[in-house]
Symmetry: C2
Subunit: 330 residues, 2 copies
């Protein structure tokens, strides 16, 4: 659970600090995935909370909460000790993609009633339409965004109709956050990676490669004598192993190569990675190999498939950004 | 380059600390990939060196070193300031896999002569037979190990025959370190990930799954109602996105599921991962879905495809191990 906390926190750093794009809608939100994890989560969270001034900790739940005297006692003691009553959100499954309770499922009201009667505060409902990552047309994106919104709002209305509180209606994924035609009755949009964007999102169609605000600066350190491909000092430790574009309409291998000023060099990809080495080559092996084009010492920028995965490889840099949001990192 | 340093250091942590296997041959060695990077590298390295007591910093080179008055001056000043003369190893390409100078190439002696005449210490030769990762029979492994050894030794002999020093003959990759029939004239074996091992190495055939000394402890936090698959709190932030077994004889998806005591549960894989969530399912969907077998709260261990990539996701834990090698981390 400690790792989960740190990782969620990383996600927030990514979402909230960018020198290029400042359109974050994200509220500061930490989410754990099981009531049983709450004690662990908060014990770790409080240390972090002080550091980055997170105003709130929330817990999502998608199973009937089974009160247990011993657990409830521990839970209440922990909450007292930290002057905290856990706010619990019920996860709603609006697209059959991963987890949650379907908006029309009978269990929804059972869970809401148990929570409302327990030692926690029933905060509302939350959904994540992960299926939106498979979309790549504006019409499909608008449709899944509306499906996410209307499903979550319907779940909230059912809870309220049963006489229970449901103040929060939280929706979000990067594609849907960018594609909603309206957000009526939604109280919170979790906007994912969209202050940075990445190649996956450009394939989905919610940004262009020019919008991508996170890149890895690398240096040409050699060439393969047989192929002429350039060897750079950015491997999977820098980029991550994420191959999120592999099954999309445009496969960028491990990243799109740009000149140091960020101009895309069409056809040049980070075609392969080892731990500390990457291979830069033209997808059609043009220019008679890359050797002549990129001498040793040339600095290049690589746009990532997945900004979350690449950003998480540079935690120290992200921490520096937290401490000084105006810092420019080269 | 700072990232490279940190990442190389991580690799060493992985190689040197294991509570299960203590067969490390690895000498403490940091390797940068270009002479031009040396100043950066060492400036970052010295901070680390103090912390973890690395006794040496080495630099590998696989291109003719072109002395330049300005660079040489900076280089010499830096070396003086840090009471350091860089030891430079020449990278030898023994398998056409990535980079280096071939053992019989004329350029080898040119590079050795330039280095010997420069402000650095010619340390010797180094190779990494990365092609060994594609092997999966004992005969093929023995053959590539001998190819790696004999190629590197031959390069050293050529340098010595030209009247130049070549004290270090460094070979290594995890598969070849485990498969060499003899190591005559080799002075150093870089043993890779083999104090931990992983699923990639079990496919290569140099270990069994029972030898794997690194796993991620995770908890079942829910179930998919439609498929019965279990949802755990280990996604790619915990395991990494490494899919190193994808093209091997046994594809483990994102990891092999074990009970909490480390017993392999045959057929159960971490079949999919999101950032913080993983899906555990039986590859043939046996047992009527996994719901009944793994109730919420069940703790499981996941064996990783690639111990380096998974270990690098837990830098804090590895740091704790450095500070207290006897610490057991659950």
């Amino acid at each position: 659970m400690h790792a989960l906390l740190t990782q969620e926190a990383r996600g927030q750093y990514t979402a909230e600090y960018s020198s290029k794009s400042r359109r974050a809608w994200t509220r500061r939100l930490l989410v754990a995935s099981a009531a049983g994890a709450a004690a662990w989560f908060c014990s770790a969270a409080h240390a972090e909370v002080k550091k980055v001034a997170y105003p709130e900790v929330k817990v999502t739940i998608d199973n009937a909460y089974k009160p247990d005297a011993a657990f409830d006692q521990m839970h209440a003691a922990f909450a007292r000790e930290h002057h905290e009553v856990f706010e619990v959100l019920i996860e709603i499954d609006t697209d059959g993609h991963r987890s949650g309770i379907r908006p029309d499922e009978a269990a929804l009201l059972d869970v809401a009633r148990v929570l409302d009667a327990g030692n926690v505060r029933l905060g509302g409902v939350l959904t994540h339409a992960g299926a939106s990552y498979q979309c790549d047309t504006p019409a499909a994106l608008r449709s899944i965004a509306e499906q996410e919104r209307s499903g979550c709002v319907f779940a909230a209305e059912r809870i309220r109709a049963a006489g229970l509180p449901c103040p929060v209606v939280s929706v979000g994924s990067t594609p849907t956050a960018l594609s909603a035609t309206h957000l009526d009755d939604v109280t919170e949009v979790r906007s994912g990676v969209y202050v940075f964007f990445d190649l996956v999102m450009s394939n989905v169609g919610v940004c262009t490669t020019d919008d991508i605000a996170l890149s890895v600066l690398t240096t040409v350190i050699g060439h393969q004598s047989t192929t002429g491909s350039a060897i750079v000092d950015a491997g999977w430790m820098a980029m991550s192993c994420d191959r999120g574009t592999a099954r999309q309409k445009r496969d960028y291998a491990y990243g799109q190569v740009c000149s140091v000023d960020g101009t895309v060099l069409p056809g040049y990809l980070l075609s392969a990675v080892n731990q500390e080495h990457g291979i830069v080559s033209h997808e059609n092996m043009l220019d008679g190999g890359n050797g002549r084009r990129f001498p040793v010492g040339t600095r290049l920028r690589i746009l990532p498939n997945h900004a979350c995965a690449t950003g998480a490889q540079f935690l120290k840099t992200l921490r520096q950004l937290i401490e000084n949001p105006l810092l420019l990192v080269y």
